[in-house]
């Protein structure tokens, strides 16, 4: 790694940990400070020292800092040690090593995480997904989602794709029974209006449609309102109408709810719409009430 970024990192480390030393054992804290200082050292100087720290008898905190230094060393050996620690260590250190591979972003080390994922427990799998998210490795998360052997694995990977905003990948996932709910949730997390709209206007799968309408409400924004109005007006299915109305409520489109209120000729429906407007604490509710009292629409 070049000196300038290293200096910045080291200075940051100094700033972050500046107050901790007095609160703990002096020798332990000196070791931690020494490791933080090593971030700015030449790679070939830092690597052997950090390797010895990891192989030695030190606290998890010291080893954890060593892992961070290792993640900043741009040598193949450092990535191999990180991967080995991710494979063989236990507890927090294992998860920390996985996380540091994510922070380091070395492509080979990231590839190595796939094996750790497939052999790991639920916490390990979660750590690997998190590492991929940190390194913005969409391809690897997609591969895990596409090859998931359980619904839990699939949902976690799809959720991660959503957090990463990988909407294209979410839309291109192969068909999987019962997968649509997870994908729709992920599309909502990713704020993918177009993806959700496609499901929301498709009445061939009512359950999926309701989830997608709900997702549109969460995504919100100007373009969501007209879509929800279109869905509301275009269906006889009460569940779909209720979902669209709820979406308008969540997306805070009170003027559109007022529009529906004004055009409705059904007193029961008008009462429902007015209730929603009141819940939205909207000026439009007062407007509607005043109009009703005046005998208007």
């Amino acid at each position: 790694m070049h000196l300038f970024p290293k200096l910045i990192l080291a200075t940051l480390a100094l700033t972050i940990s500046g107050t901790a030393i007095a609160q703990s054992d002096d020798a332990e804290q000196l070791k931690i400070a020494a490791l933080e200082a090593l971030v700015s050292a030449p790679d070939e100087k830092a690597l052997p020292i950090v390797s010895k720290v990891l192989a030695g008898d030190h606290s998890d905190e010291v080893k954890s800092r060593a892992l961070f230094v290792l993640s900043q060393i741009d040598l193949p050996e450092s990535q191999a040690i990180l991967l080995d620690t991710a494979r063989t260590a236990e507890g927090d250190l294992k998860h920390q090593a996985i996380r540091m591979i994510g922070i380091g972003g070395n492509p080979d080390a990231l590839k190595g995480l796939a094996e750790i994922y497939s052999n790991g427990d639920a916490n390990t799998k979660e750590s690997v997904l998190h590492a991929y998210m940190i390194s913005d490795d969409v391809d690897s998360v997609y591969a895990l989602a596409a090859s998931a052997v359980s619904d839990e694995e699939f949902e976690s990977a799809v959720h991660t794709l959503g957090v990463m905003g990988a909407t294209d990948r979410l839309r291109s996932l192969p068909d999987r029974p019962g997968a649509s709910e997870s994908i729709i949730h992920a599309l909502a997390i990713a704020g993918d209006y177009e993806g959700l709209r496609a499901y929301a206007v498709d009445a061939s799968n009512p359950e999926r449609q309701l989830e997608a309408i709900h997702g549109l409400g969460i995504v919100g924004g100007e373009e969501v309102g007209p879509t929800l109005i279109e869905i509301y007006r275009g269906t006889d299915n009460n569940d779909v109408r209720e979902a669209a109305l709820h979406g308008l409520f969540v997306a805070d489109h009170d003027t559109l709810v007022l529009e529906l209120f004004r055009e409705s000729t059904n007193s029961e429906e008008k009462a429902d719409l007015l209730r929603i407007l009141v819940m939205m604490d909207s000026d439009a509710a007062i407007e509607a009430i005043d109009a009703a009292l005046a005998g208007g629409p």
């Binding site: 070049h2 000196l3 300038f4 200096l7 080291a10 100094l14 940990s17 500046g18 107050t19 030393i21 007095a22 002096d26 804290q29 000196l30 070791k31 400070a33 020494a34 490791l35 933080e36 200082a37 090593l38 700015s40 050292a41 030449p42 100087k45 052997p48 020292i49 010895k52 720290v53 030695g56």
Partner: protein, 197 residues
């Protein structure tokens, strides 16, 4: 024709004292303005100067001592290492306001005169700088940075690291600058500290 005076006046280096009288000279500096002296750089001391980033490359420029920027920058280009470093200190009313350390090859500008004390013994320079490490102040880190660039400053920096009476942040900064000195002795010390060998 009347010469136009530049905003940043060219430095006037006044060699005031010979090196053997440095201690007396440095103890006696009191005049307002910048004072400077030159010492032998550590074997791997960085080429500290001011740089600008141009299309991803660091381009070395001169440093304006009066400017607000006072960070440390260096180049990985070992061919530009200088055998000496230049310490600059700004005095006002008998107090040290700033300490800056640059490569002796790094051009500087200032609006005032620079009083040059010439080449001095490293021990004298390190001893003077050590006065400003503690108590913790804005000068602490700059003094440690300057010390770390001197040849044979290892003992002085380690004494700061190992002084449990000192502010912990100062000790932490001493560790940082020991690593920055990139001396073999420094890395051996860090290794002993961490793995006990």
């Amino acid at each position: 024709m009347r010469l136009r005076r530049a905003l940043c006046v060219a430095i006037v280096l006044l060699t005031a004292f010979a090196s053997e009288t440095f201690s007396a000279a440095i103890d006696g500096i009191g005049a307002d303005g910048w004072h400077t002296w030159r010492v032998e750089a550590g074997e791997n001391a960085a080429d500290w100067c001011c740089y600008v980033w141009n299309s991803g490359n660091a381009e070395r420029t001169g440093c304006d001592l009066d400017g607000s920027r006072s960070g440390y920058s260096s180049s990985d280009d070992r061919s530009s290492l200088a055998p000496h470093i230049q310490i600059y200190t700004l005095m006002s009313n008998g107090n040290v306001l700033k300490i800056r350390t640059l490569s002796s090859q790094c051009p500087v500008t200032t609006r005032t005169e620079i009083f040059d004390l010439g080449i001095v013994e490293n021990d004298d320079s390190v001893g003077w700088l050590a006065q400003y490490v503690a108590p913790r102040s804005e000068l602490s880190s700059d003094a440690l940075a300057a010390m770390s660039a001197h040849e044979n400053s290892f003992d002085a920096i380690v004494s700061v690291i190992e002084d449990r009476e000192l502010d912990e942040d100062i000790r932490r900064q001493a560790l940082f600058w020991l690593v920055e000195s990139k001396s073999e002795q420094g890395f051996e010390y860090i290794e002993r500290l961490l793995v006990g060998t």
